[in-house]
């Protein structure tokens, strides 16, 4: 540092001398010139329309910006000086002012954006695509918004085939459930096998950096404006603020992040204000969510009663006459309900059309020296369950200062998020409800209990299935169930251009977040029905969670580039130090008699079962140093080397610093002489990279011996503690070796652009438990044991069908697909024991338990092969491992019967622009994966008709008499259906992810001018419009899926 400084001092002196000399020279020259008092002009695009915001400058002197009419005025312009006209998307023009000229009319030429000019931003350094050998995809915020105006994450999944969201069939479209994301597949076994989860605090609003990564060890690193962030921040980020998103996939692109790079990196840049006149942009988006219940096919009232009767609910299994009579009375009671027309559509009760709005107002402006930006956004995302919503408020303030070679900026973000969970409870409660119960009592009020008691009806036995409560009743109470966070982020960045081609930059990011959650269930809540007998002390409960997360992140970087002759060099070195801490406290109190006393202090005390406050604290520190150099010869050959040294408090004390590296090479074949003049290919570029990256998404303290206090017991009033296990001082980062071969080409006059990548990722040193003899005192020991391999490819094609700038007519088609296979290469013996334990469970494997075997994929479905339902007996016939058939299910016969990972995932679409109209459609698909149709098993065969409703196929498709070729067992067969291949189905689907229709009003329109607007746009987007699937699955059991319609309007003024 100091050496550089002293060197730069000398150079600075020299350069100042040179500058002074040059200034004198310029001064002398200009002295000889005459001055034009005023030069006015107009800038227009190739179609002749005025362009606003164009920077017009006299080199080294004044700068002005064109207004809405494209006009500008410069004063005191020296004759023969060069006017420089620049604007994003247009070619730079430099015009020499002729003596006596007072008017300047310029038509700008549109810049044809070819890939070689683009710059890849890795978050740590930027590099022109030509000098970059890694695999990265860059998407602009506008492109993403076109696909999904409300969710960045969903838009990314459509835009890039390697970005996958694991579909959550339970939580559906719950706005308060974060998605699970992966880039290029999973390298890691689930968190619970890695000693994660239990030692961490519950992810309060998921705002804590550590737990957010530890809970999904396959989650890519998320970098927002140069600093590590959380998925929640990305999820809540207003899409209007996004400038561009870059996905870094291979080692060459991501290795600068060292031990955090193995899962890939998502780099997000937010919009920065540009200098010029104060500009205000307002956009509003109205979002309508419509519940998608089309996947449900439940029995109606009459059907259910019939099914219950066939299943023997209303007959005594032992043939007891008295019981039979009582059950018959209950049957009649319910039949009466059916006959008088009670047929409640329970699915429709808790859902609504969610009407959400989001507003974004941004102001930006400034001079060449000072730029400022203010961004206010408010999003109210209403879920389709009544009462569920997510509201976010964000205030972002940017202040930038430029003085010569020095730049300083400060970016402050204040955000508040509030998630309300529906007081109606889980959606499954409603799917289970009997349709012959009416939610209202005879007086028209919402009933709490459906049926009168046995005593009231004069029936000797209680109702089959017990007392049924109405979950709807809770919606009339003062139930509170929400979580929230308040977060302040401040980032200071400074940059100093020591030379034009040597840049020193540094930054400090401080995040402080206060997450909170509360849940209040009043005494009258249906969950307390039946607990009156245990004492009033337990009725009504209030739970409060309070947390505190903090992140401090600082970085420094030095970038150098130089071109001499045929050689171009880019060098970047830098470092990053990060410290995170999080804590949370949970307190539950019980015994709140009145509905309106919804405060913790109103409670009678703690639960009778000794519930005490709980606390979770986690703290980490990491350090990372990187260096990256790229060399290019005659724009043909590129070589790139990146190294990184990462240190983390999570590593064992003997392995605190980890080295990582990547090499890459690129060959621009199109620049070769033998290739030139080729009429087909305009660009052909081959890239190869190999490198080693790391992953540290595991629990903080496996590397040192830790004592934990026993907080539930005392020994004669003393507290005791005990060892958590053997520390592994040699514990290492998980290591992923990544090989990537990429080909980029554009052909047929750049009408077709193809970008393809083939990759092999080998992960070693997975942190897994190693079984040890229990006489050592512990049964497992965390060590680097497992290995997995992911292989795959991804292809992205875009084709310009029509490109007619004169008519302003553009039509582009796009297609992308990705494929990967996952194989487990090695496992620890403890995982084998885990498998054996799962295999040994001979009872109740109603869902296929995960089994991990070397040579298989992690997402393999293990079940017993089924030969179907025997037409003679109605029982299921299985094939044993030795090939013989049996009616007896045994866990030992389980085999791999399907893989949940689809063979292909991708999207295709079309984007049409004509005049101001925009029409965009994107379809996403998956092909070649399987799924265990869990909801079908649960609602057809393992259904307990005693207390839940069932799928209508219970009546139609189950075996009834000998000779029936049915797909399901007999209704009277109450044996549990365990994991069988019969329910493994192909999971191929085609989803209309988004359809967008928009119109950009011409800025020349008279009303636009009168309203002083500049580029008003109106957009209508429909997401998840329809879905064609080979699997008939009841989707969204805990929370329904939704289709959404968005109406967006934005304008600048």
């Amino acid at each position: 540092m100091n050496a550089i400084y002293s060197n730069s001092k000398i150079i600075r002196h020299a350069s100042m001398l040179a500058l002074t000399f040059a200034g004198m020279l310029v001064g002398t020259v200009s002295f000889a010139q005459a001055i034009i008092q005023q030069l006015s002009g107009k800038i227009s695009d190739p179609e002749g329309r005025p362009v606003s915001g164009v920077v017009v400058s006299i080199r080294g002197q004044a700068t002005v910006v064109t207004g809405n009419d494209g006009k500008f005025t410069l004063i005191h312009v020296p004759e023969n000086s060069v006017i420089r006209i620049s604007h994003v998307g247009f070619e730079l023009q430099e015009i020499k002012v002729k003596p006596g000229q007072t008017e300047l009319i310029v038509k700008l030429a549109r810049r044809v954006s070819t890939l070689s000019e683009a710059v890849v931003n890795t978050g740590l350094y930027r590099r022109p695509v030509g000098n970059f050998t890694g695999a990265a995809t860059t998407m602009t915020g506008d492109e993403l918004k076109m696909v999904n105006p409300t969710s960045v994450v969903k838009a990314l999944a459509v835009m890039d085939p390697s970005f996958r969201i694991t579909e959550n069939n339970v939580m559906g479209s719950d706005p308060n459930t974060l998605p699970v994301i992966q880039l290029r597949g999973a390298n890691n076994l689930p968190a619970n096998l890695q000693g994660n989860g239990s030692t961490l605090a519950p992810a309060v609003s998921s705002g804590d950096i550590m737990s957010s990564y530890a809970s999904n060890p396959n989650q890519p690193l998320i970098i927002i404006d140069g600093f590590q962030s959380t998925l929640q921040t990305l999820y809540d980020l207003d899409i209007n603020r996004i400038e561009r998103v870059t996905l870094l996939k291979d080692a060459a692109a991501a290795v600068a992040y060292g031990s955090k790079a193995a899962n890939g990196v998502v780099v997000v840049e937010t919009k920065k204000p540009v200098s010029g006149r104060l500009q205000m942009t307002y956009s509003v988006n109205v979002n309508l969510s419509v519940p998608d219940l089309s996947s449900y096919h439940l029995l109606d009232a009459a059907g259910l009663l019939k099914a219950q009767q066939i299943a023997g609910i209303y007959t005594d299994p032992n043939g007891n006459q008295a019981n039979n009579q009582a059950l018959q009375q209950w049957y009649n009671e319910r039949l009466y309900n059916v006959q008088r027309g009670v047929n409640t559509d329970w699915l429709a009760q808790p859902v609504r059309f969610g009407l959400g709005t989001s507003h974004n107002l941004s102001m930006s402006g400034g001079t060449n020296h000072v730029r400022f930006g203010l961004n206010l956004s408010y999003t109210n995302n209403e879920g389709v369950m009544k009462g569920s919503s997510r509201n976010t408020y964000t205030l972002n303030n940017y202040l930038g200062y430029v003085a010569g070679r020095f730049k300083l900026s400060n970016n402050t973000t204040l955000s508040y998020g509030l998630s309300n969970n529906s007081p109606w409870g889980a959606y499954s409660t409603y799917a289970n409800q009997f349709p012959y119960f009416s939610p209202y009592d005879s007086t028209g009020h919402i009933a709490k209990i459906f049926e009168p008691s046995a005593a009231a009806l004069g029936i000797p036995n209680p109702a089959p299935g017990g007392t049924f409560t109405n979950a709807m009743y809770n919606s009339t109470l003062n139930v509170k169930d929400n979580s929230s966070y308040l977060s302040i982020t401040n980032a200071v960045n400074a940059e100093y251009a020591i030379f034009p081609n040597l840049r020193l930059s540094g930054g400090l990011n401080i995040v402080s977040q206060l997450p909170a959650a509360e849940q209040y269930l009043p005494a009258d809540h249906t969950s307390f029905v039946g607990s009156l007998a245990t004492g009033v002390g337990d009725l009504g409960s209030y739970t409060q969670v309070r947390g505190r997360n903090a992140v401090m992140d600082s970085r420094i970087g030095l970038d150098y580039n130089k071109r001499f002759g045929d050689h171009t060099i880019f060098v970047s070195v830098g470092g990053d130090a990060q410290s995170t801490s999080s804590s949370s406290t949970t307190v539950t109190t019980n015994g709140i008699p009145n509905d309106y006393l919804d405060e913790m202090g109103m409670a009678n005390g703690y639960n009778l079962a000794d519930i005490k406050p709980s606390e979770g604290i986690s703290q980490t520190r990491s350090l990372s140093l990187y260096g990256s150099a790229s060399y290019n010869y005659r724009e043909r050959y590129t070589a790139e080397v990146t190294v990184n040294a990462s240190g983390s408090s999570q590593f064992g004390s003997n392995n605190r610093i980890a080295p990582f590296f990547a090499y890459g090479a690129g060959w621009n074949i199109d620049k070769e002489r033998f290739f030139q003049g080729n009429g087909i290919f305009q660009q052909l570029r081959l890239r190869v990279s190999y490198g080693v990256t790391g992953n540290q998404n595991f629990t903080a303290f496996l590397g040192q011996p830790i004592y934990q206090y026993d907080m539930t017991n005392n020994y004669r009033l003393q507290l005791g503690n005990y060892l958590q296990g053997y520390a592994n001082p040699d514990l290492k980062w998980q290591q992923t070796d990544k090989l990537n071969i990429g080909l980029t080409t554009s052909l047929l006059k750049s009408r077709i652009n193809i970008n393809g990548n083939y990759f092999i990722e080998n992960t070693n040193n997975l942190v897994l438990p190693l079984g040890i003899e229990p006489s050592t005192g512990f049964s497992t020991y965390m060590d680097n044991l497992g290995a997995t391999t992911n292989k795959g490819y991804e292809v992205m094609v875009s084709a310009v069908v029509i490109r007619d700038p004169r008519k302003n007519f553009f039509w582009t088609l796009n297609f992308n697909t990705g494929h990967y296979t996952n194989t487990i290469k090695s496992l620890s013996p403890a995982i084998v024991a885990y498998n054996n334990a799962n295999n040994a469970k001979n009872v109740d494997q109603t869902a296929p338990l995960p089994l991990y075997q070397v040579g298989q994929s992690m997402t393999q479905i293990w079940a017993v092969p089924s030969l179907g339902i025997d037409p003679a007996t109605g029982n299921e016939l299985y094939r044993k491992l030795d090939g013989t058939t049996t009616f007896v299910w045994s866990a030992a016969d389980k085999r791999p019967v399907g893989d949940q990972t689809s063979k292909f995932k991708g999207a295709f679409g079309s984007n049409l622009m004509y005049k101001g109209f925009v029409f965009n459609i994107q379809m996403s698909f998956e092909y070649g994966g399987q799924m265990y149709n869990q909801t079908l098993v649960n609602l057809v065969e393992n259904v307990n008709l005693l207390n839940t409703n069932a799928d209508s196929r219970v009546l139609t498709d189950r075996w009834k008499q000998p000779g029936d070729h049915a797909s399901f067992k007999a209704l009277s067969n109450t044996s549990t259906t365990n994991a069988t291949s019969r329910f493994v189905q192909d999971n191929n689907y085609l989803n209309a992810s988004s359809i967008t229709v928009g119109y950009n009003f011409p800025s020349t329109a008279s009303w636009v001018r009168r309203a002083h607007l500049s580029t008003p746009r109106l957009f209508v987007t429909q997401n998840d419009v329809f879905r064609l699937s080979t699997i008939k699955l009841e989707r969204g059991t805990g929370y329904p899926f939704a289709r959404s319609f968005s109406f967006g309007l934005s304008t600048s003024f």
């Binding site: 540092m1 100091n2 050496a3 002293s6 130090a577 804590s583 606390e615 979770g616 604290i617 986690s618 703290q619 980490t620 520190r621 990491s622 350090l623 240190g647 983390s648 408090s649 004390s653 605190r656 903080a700 303290f701 040192q704 011996p705 830790i706 004592y707 934990q708 206090y709 026993d710 017991n713 005392n714 020994y715 004669r716 009033l717 003393q718 507290l719 005791g720 503690n721 005990y722 060892l723 958590q724 053997y726 079984g771 040890i772 003899e773 229990p774 006489s775 050592t776 005192g777 512990f778 049964s779 020991y781 024991a833």
Partner: protein, 494 residues
């Protein structure tokens, strides 16, 4: 000037490199890293307290408490046939006791529970070993006699755990020979410790006990304390104290067949007069202050808040509807309480068992030794005796008998009989060692009901359970040997 700058740069660089490593050292706040814990006396106290807590409900698994349930009122008492209906009782909410009654070690409930007992004992050993590994380096942080106390108790506990492990998983001492039994782990290490023979384990136990005894003799042994102002030195009987180590030494010597030493240490404890036998029937006083376990006689009793819950789970009358019970009729297996008839005034029968309310069957009684009454005074709450002074009398008597001195043997039995509401026996009436041993056997069956020691008594003498405990079937000779857990065998290649 330039030189000064250079020095600055070098020292800054050097400083930042070392501080780098320091900066990456993060200590968690809800847990304590070992390096922090053992910097003060309280850390050692807490670690030792953790071992006592872990003797109850171990962190290494198990559905029950270890010393407070499995090795006392639970499995071991079932196996010693303390209860008459264990074959069909639903006590404990599972079929665990049905399997234990049949010594069915492969039962899917009993097998893992035995594994947990093993894991819990060795987990405690690991914790103790870590204290022992750290304590000498930190000798300077201790005040008063706490260094000797903690190290002495830790050594004693290490012996206790290994001794109980070998009593469970090793061959009976009479048939043990040179068969490898269990590892004797003396250091905190992930490396495998080889299996020792029963004899070698017992020798190691005695060595640890001798070391423990000499350390604890340096502590304040002037009195057996109850509650004092210092929580760590309060409740002497709830720590493996000086006398408890002596009592344990006697127990180990007897198990090893060294009657002279066993007798010496047993008499030393008796002679200390710190643990006087009770003198009145606790059942006669009101329930509120009923000292069920005769707490003044405990050399070492474990304290646990959970004992009441364990007792309820096994002996509660409401649910399960079929608790474990005793049949004390003349033909029942637990007849020593009333046979001979002159012995039916035994205070133990009155104070440890209650009739089933509403039942007319006076011979079927439910154990209430560990029932925790609502108003039980704090000092009597949650006690599970591990070593009693009465055992010292029995050891002295048995040693005398083995040496052919029957009258001395009878003289050691009589003080306990008197303290149990029975009459002193005339040594002239007990003429043979066999009749003395019969007397002692009956004492073990009565005295250690629900405390587990009866099982170890049978095993030590390799008695035929069919003859002496009245098992329904003849059990194979290896019945006393708990199988090593599968994981242990697997990683040892056995």
């Amino acid at each position: 000037m330039i030189r000064f700058e250079k020095i600055m740069i070098v020292s800054l660089l050097a400083g930042s490199l070392t501080s780098c490593k320091k900066w990456l050292n993060v200590t968690p706040q809800d847990k304590v890293p070992q390096v922090t814990l053992f910097t003060n006396e309280q850390g050692f106290k807490d670690a030792l307290t953790g071992v006592y807590l872990n003797m109850d409900k171990s962190t290494s698994g198990g559905s029950n408490g270890i010393y407070t349930n499995d090795l006392s009122m639970g499995i071991l008492s079932v196996m010693a046939y303390n209860y008459d209906n264990a074959s069909n009782s639903a006590a404990g909410g599972s079929a665990l006791y049905n399997a234990a009654y049949l010594y069915n070690y492969n039962d899917p409930l009993l097998k893992p529970e035995i594994g947990y007992i093993w894991s819990a004992l060795y987990n405690n050993i690991a914790n103790v070993n870590n204290i022992l590994a750290q304590i000498d380096a930190a000798k300077g942080v201790f005040t008063a006699d706490n260094y000797q106390r903690i190290k002495g108790e830790a050594l004693g506990l290490r012996a206790l755990f290994h001794f109980d492990a070998v009593r469970l998983f090793g061959q009976p001492p009479l048939t043990a020979g040179t068969t490898p039994a269990i590892p004797y782990v003396k250091s905190f290490t992930i490396r495998q410790t080889p299996l020792y023979t029963v004899g070698a384990v017992l020798d190691s136990c005695l060595a640890d006990l001798a070391a423990a005894r000499s350390l604890l003799s340096l502590t304040d042994t002037s009195a057996v304390l109850g509650a004092t102002t210092d929580p760590f030195t309060s409740y002497t009987q709830n720590h493996l104290n000086y006398w408890a180590v002596g009592g344990l030494t006697a127990r180990v010597y007897l198990y090893a067949g060294n009657t002279d030493s066993a007798s010496y240490y047993a008499k030393a404890v008796i002679g200390s007069n710190k643990f006087p036998l009770i003198t009145s029937n606790v059942a006669a006083s009101t329930n509120v202050v009923r000292d069920h376990t005769y707490s003044q006689e405990h050399l070492f009793a474990l304290y646990s808040q959970n004992i009441g819950a364990y007792s309820l789970s096994i002996f509660e009358l409401q649910s399960p509807a079929t608790p474990l019970v005793l049949n004390v009729s003349a033909t029942g297996k637990n007849n020593p309480y009333i046979v001979p008839v002159s012995d039916n005034t035994d205070w133990r029968l009155k104070s440890w068992f209650d009739p089933i309310p509403g039942s007319t069957n006076v011979n079927t009684v439910v154990p209430s030794k560990f029932y925790q009454e609502a108003n039980l005074p704090y000092n009597l709450q949650g006690l599970m005796p591990v070593i009693r002074v009465s055992e010292m009398y029995y050891i002295a008597a048995e040693c005398a008998g083995t040496n052919g001195d029957v009258p001395t043997g009878v003289n050691f039995i009589n003080p306990v009989r008197l303290a149990r509401g029975l009459t002193a026996l005339n040594s002239a009436g007990i003429s043979t060692t066999d009749s003395l041993f019969h007397l002692i056997r009956n004492e073990y069956r009565k005295e250690f009901s629900q405390e587990g020691q009866t099982f170890f008594y049978y095993k030590r003498l390799n008695l035929n359970l069919n003859t002496y405990a009245g098992t329904p079937t003849i059990l194979p000779p290896a019945v006393f040997v708990f199988p090593l857990p599968d994981a242990e065998k697997q990683y040892r290649g056995l």
